[in-house]
């Protein structure tokens, strides 16, 4: 087998990169913090500071292609030093162009201002009682069975119900939402085409429900979250259009699904693969937040995010022409030795650990990060309190010297496809 130099490998299709992304990112970073890829006409940014430089500069670097990725060809041939007009003229040819993650500037800022109040500490506190109670129930059920599959059986339903509660989705509709989400292709999939209209299927399905909720609450306000969502206004006091609120609600529902479920399962993998660490956290649950931060840094659910150079510009001194597609390799920046000492080592309690890039940065930084941290912390607390041991199922994953653990074939999600574990009750 010939070994390709890293810049020649196809990040968007090479399944070996999916299995071992950190070696690949490390190899790319060794070439430089900003590297031209050969398989796709895109730049890969791997340096910690350079990633932040791109993410904070949303005037030069647009989120136009954020949801489809830098491997997706532009629907036009870029011309000149500023492609803003071409981008606008071709916007309807980009898949899911209406999503919040793909917006820039004022339009993005306005939509974010509607969403931000949902994730403030006091808002989350109201949600925490439900999360705690529900986490206890989910864990009790799993532990009583003696074993369980973390990703699909436990984590996904758990995080789905948490977001449903946050948005005030009536209990009787929650199961319907989950069924639709479960049957959709995963974002950034290398093996299924997630850039078709079908990808928006679940969002469209949920949109119908949210439209009904919002019309209902605007006509007859109640004391609930959906009423707050239905009556929220822009900073200038203007009431948002129904479709904007519906898209937003769908986005919140969709965005918190896969990523949070992957974070919970990856966290669990660290605990079952390191029994000493598991014992340490069981004895001292106050360490769980620091544990989660280090899992986020080392193996956060989002490996990369994507941008498009709107104008001629630079990244880390490297010239970037307008129209260049960019892979912002968050997972690479999270292991940049310039920023992190012994970057590949698991070290709980690093100084300024929360400065990792797993929730991105700048205007598009993940609004749901506080929710993710809270829900994962609370369910891990329950898992550790209700068990005396949690172990990896060797029946499913093989013995320590020959583990068989699969990751989703995705160029932006880092996540286990399944994780079977055995529980010993406390």
């Amino acid at each position: 087998m010939t070994t390709l130099s890293p810049e020649k490998r196809d990040y968007f299709a090479d399944l070996a990169i999916c299995r071992e992304p950190y070696q690949y990112f490390s190899d790319m970073l060794k070439i430089g913090p900003v590297v031209q890829m050969e398989s796709t006409d895109a730049l890969m940014v791997t340096g910690y500071n350079e990633c932040i430089e791109v993410l904070r500069n949303h005037k030069d670097f647009s989120s136009y292609n954020s949801s489809v990725g830098a491997g997706y060809p532009l629907p036009f041939v870029p011309e000149g030093s500023d492609i803003s007009e071409q981008m606008e003229a071709n916007k309807d040819k980009m898949p899911h162009g209406e999503l919040l993650v793909n917006q820039d500037g004022m339009r993005h800022s306005e939509l974010r201002s509607l969403m931000n109040p949902l994730f403030t500490p006091s808002r989350l506190k109201a949600n925490e009682a439900f999360i705690k109670e529900y986490a206890a129930e989910v864990v009790k059920d799993a532990v009583s069975k003696g074993s369980g599959e973390m990703v699909n059986e436990i984590a996904t339903p758990f995080v789905t119900m948490v977001v449903a509660d946050l948005l005030g989705v009536p209990v009787e509709d929650r199961a319907k939402f989950r069924a639709v989400i479960d049957s959709a292709p995963r974002p950034g999939s290398m093996t299924e085409d997630s850039n078709t209209e079908e990808f928006t299927g679940p969002l469209e399905y949920m949109a119908r429900f949210f439209a009904e909720y919002i019309i209902d609450r605007r006509n007859s306000p109640r004391d609930d979250v959906l009423t707050k969502l239905a009556t929220i206004t822009y900073p200038d006091g203007k009431l948002p259009e129904l479709k904007d609120l519906v898209t937003l609600a769908g986005t919140i529902f969709g965005a918190g699904q896969d990523t949070s479920a992957k974070l919970l399962s990856t966290s669990m993998r660290y605990l079952v693969e390191n029994q000493e660490l598991q014992g340490q956290l069981r004895a001292n649950p106050d360490l769980i937040p620091a544990f989660i931060e280090e899992v986020l840094r080392l193996e956060g659910p989002t490996k990369a995010t994507f941008r498009l150079a709107r104008r001629d510009s630079t990244i880390g001194g490297v010239e970037v022409p307008a129209g260049k597609r960019i892979v912002v390799a968050l997972a690479a920046g999270n292991r940049d030795p310039e920023r992190w000492e012994n970057p590949h080592e698991f070290q709980m309690g690093r100084r300024r650990a929360q400065e990792h890039l797993s929730f991105s940065r700048g205007a598009h930084a993940c609004a749901g990060a506080p929710l993710a941290r809270a829900e994962i912390r609370m369910i891990l607390e329950e898992f550790l309190a209700q068990t005396s041991a949690i172990e990896l199922s060797e029946y499913h994953h093989g013995p320590a010297e020959d583990r068989n653990i699969e990751y989703d074939a995705s160029f932006f999600i880092r996540g286990l496809s399944s994780l079977h574990v055995n529980f010993t009750p406390a």
Binding site: R56, S109, N116, T120, P121, R361, A367
Partner: protein
Amino acid sequence: MTEILVTTRDGTETALAFTPSMSLMQTICDGGIDELAAICGGVCSCATCHVYIADEFLEGLPAMSEDEDALLDGVPYRTANSRLSCQIRLTDENNGMRVIIAEDE
């Protein structure tokens, strides 16, 4: 044109134009000042966008929420002029406002 005057940690003052209804945090970040980490992106959960507002402009700002107050309690160098810049939506009234980037930890 509306603008604010931002003093960075080295004492330099820069005038930044702003669009009313944008947040103070976003205006400072978009203005090319990279001293605000602003990690959480404006959901009032990280306190890494801490600034000091000049006395004469403090009163005209929207009141501080309990969340903002609690977060500011956790930062070093809190003063009576402290605010989290992500919680301030700029209006025409803020034209000429002087803002100092707070000390880091």
